[in-house]
């Protein structure tokens, strides 16, 4: 397997969307190729960092009440 194949398949590999035989081949390549391993690690880090900037927030009470009120008005119509 070539580095350019890894570049194409790396996201599917991360998403576990690749059949086992292909997965094994990619894992073998990653053990031997520092460049592709860095690509894998940096994409994983990119995803983790993206998640970290979007921590889940509670709906502020005022917003929740406003939406309930607006929906209730329509129910009455």
């Amino acid at each position: 397997m070539k580095c350019e194949d890894i570049e194409k398949l790396i996201s599917e590999f991360i998403d576990n969307e690749i059949e086992k035989s292909m997965r094994d081949m990619i894992e073998e390549h990653l053990k031997e190729c520092r460049r592709c391993l860095s690509l894998f690690e940096t994409i994983e880090k990119t995803i983790a960092l993206s998640r970290s900037i979007y921590r889940k927030k509670k709906v502020p009470k005022g917003i929740s009440e406003r939406v309930y009120y607006e929906v209730r008005i329509r129910f009455k119509k």
């Binding site: 350019e4 570049e7 194409k8 790396i10 996201s11 599917e12 998403d15 969307e17 520092r34 460049r35 860095s38 690509l39 690690e41 940096t42 994409i43 880090k45 990119t46 995803i47 960092l49 993206s50 998640r51 970290s52 900037i53 979007y54 889940k56 927030k57 509670k58 709906v59 502020p60 917003i63 929740s64 406003r66 939406v67 309930y68 607006e70 929906v71 209730r72 329509r74 129910f75």
Partner: protein, 191 residues
Amino acid sequence: MSEQQLIERAKNGDTKAFEELMKRTQTNIYNLGLRLLGNKEDAADLMQETYIKAYENLDRFEGRSSFSTWLYRIATNNALMKLRKEKNKKVSIDELKKFGDKSYKIEISDWSENPSSYFKSAELKEVLQKAIDSLPPKYKSVFILHDVEGLPLAEVARILSLSVPAVKTRVHRSRMYLREKISEYIKKHGN
């Protein structure tokens, strides 16, 4: 009470049942709005529009997907309309298409030389946030739904009426683009 029972009751005009459905799903819809649109005012408007539209179209909900997927679909379509009106500069689709083009040589640096605290810096997060916001709406929505919300590829495809391969392509290009933006930042400011 099960979701299905609540939907049936809401279809028959039971306000309380619809409110219970809202209560169970509002955190997800609000957070999706925050993530796609970037501020709580727009997220609140999106939440309101989503539930009103859901209520008005409840009769058409046949249960082929889960109620939550259906809501995500309404919310994402509404958010996409808002995102398309945004004036901030977006990266071009051609720029994103280079990832996957054999002639494009990806520069790969090793980030492991930087301590983990480096990745917690507000400045780096801001760079990443700007990069995500510069994604064209059809890429940003896929990236947020899959990589941030954690929805499976097939569900993202259902929400956006896309094929799974199309979702995979957009996820891959978005990741590669964001990775490159972080790399550029590290090259300038890192070890």
